[in-house]
């Protein structure tokens, strides 16, 4: 999966967790908690959704790797390539 594809999947799942967000308002470097105001429950739901969709199980200590769409795209494509 390319970074672009991973980013697209990440954003789709992010919007399901936080339906009030507008996709065109989410910046590549927006922090999902500090900028987009996800709480720990939202983050866990996002991690679970990514696991279900991509089969990528993100351990808790690596949640920081998906803190922004840009980070998440790089991380997910790396995990899927491995």
């Amino acid at each position: 999966m390319t970074q672009d594809e991973a980013r697209k999947v990440f954003l789709e799942e992010l919007l399901k967790v936080a339906p009030d967000l507008e996709s065109d308002e989410i910046g590549a470097d927006d922090h999902i908690q500090d900028d987009l105001e996800l709480d720990s429950m939202d983050v866990l739901n996002l991690v679970a959704a990514l696991h279900a969709r991509l089969g990528v199980d993100i351990p808790e200590q690596e949640y920081v790797e998906i803190a922004t769409p840009a980070l998440a795209a790089a991380y997910l494509s790396r995990r899927l390539a491995a």
């Binding site: 936080a18 908690q33 709480d39 720990s40 429950m41 679970a48 351990p59 808790e60």
Partner: protein, 397 residues
Amino acid sequence: MGVFQMPSLGADMEAGTLVEWLVAPGDAVKRGDIVAVVETQKGAIEIEIFEDGIIQSLDAEIGAKLPVGAPLATILAAGEAPPSAPAAPTTGTAPEVVAPAPELATVAPAASEGLQPRPATLGIAASPAARQRASERGVDLGALKGSGPGGAVVLADVETTAPERRETPKPTKPADAMVEMRKAIAAAMQRSKREIPHFQLSQSVDIQTASDWLAARNAAVPPAERILLGTLFMKAAALAAAKVKEMNGHYGVDGFTPAPQVNLGVAVALRGGGLIAPAIPEADKLALPDLMAAMKELVARARAMRLRSSEMTSGTLTVSALGEKGADAMAGIIFPPQVALLAIGAPKIRPWVVEGEIVPRLLATFTLSADHRVSDGRQANRFLAEIDTALQNPEAL
């Protein structure tokens, strides 16, 4: 026969708008069934019924804004016969005492055999089928000339009438919803600050052990089975509430009534603003995975503004956690008619003294707001100590 009324879904609710019926006349209902959806300042609330029986009639129109206590439906107890022709007028001496105003709907005389009692709120005689079809077609019953007994509107009258373009109740716009939610919060908090003599106690709790235990547990399971640290806090609070009765219950006109069970109110911050605190029943008895599942489900429905009436009113103690990031501590305002509120600051790594050594530990500050009409510092202190103790033994939670 009972009258199902517009419930009060919080200390400050005055009225609600009926937006949906989920039952029809003739349906059997049992206690706890969701029968209607009412739009309130806190969003759409699914209204549960609190008796078993058969829906005899729906006495309120979709779109009607009705005060708390207004009749919504008439319920027949199982086996109870529907009301028939009105009883013969009482003859003889007039009663000396004027009877109290009759309860609406229950005693309104039936227009005729086979017709439901006239809902006093509407003042229009109509058969249940006519009423339902009129609602479906957007026909104003009041504008129809009834051809049934006593001028009652029957199904045929509705069928032959062209529907008018009645304005359907439009869902509240987000901006309006936010204004309404803010009003609801303001009303509840003003009442609380006016009536409840608050006092607050704070305690810093070393949660490193609990956090380490949880991290090890979560590392061994897939994301869907992971538990949040906040769930441990909720469980610890529920256990403390079960032990310290003065923090768990309601304060009403007769003073404080301790609750027989712990229904833990969970303050849920809504994205974009606003706050709502639905309750998880008997949270102290739920195992951590079950409590986590209940919280997930509750938060999802709170965000979707789709909560149930019992969740809005049954809370016996509310917990408000600031989450992973944020301020160290918060002194919260009690949600009436409850008598205590526990606010939990964001966990932070801080220097802490353990066995004579200064070490970095994860700490969280628990601040209990309590009602001085009910408790003193001693009980509040005990409550916080119970939480601290519980969190030092996370495997027992």
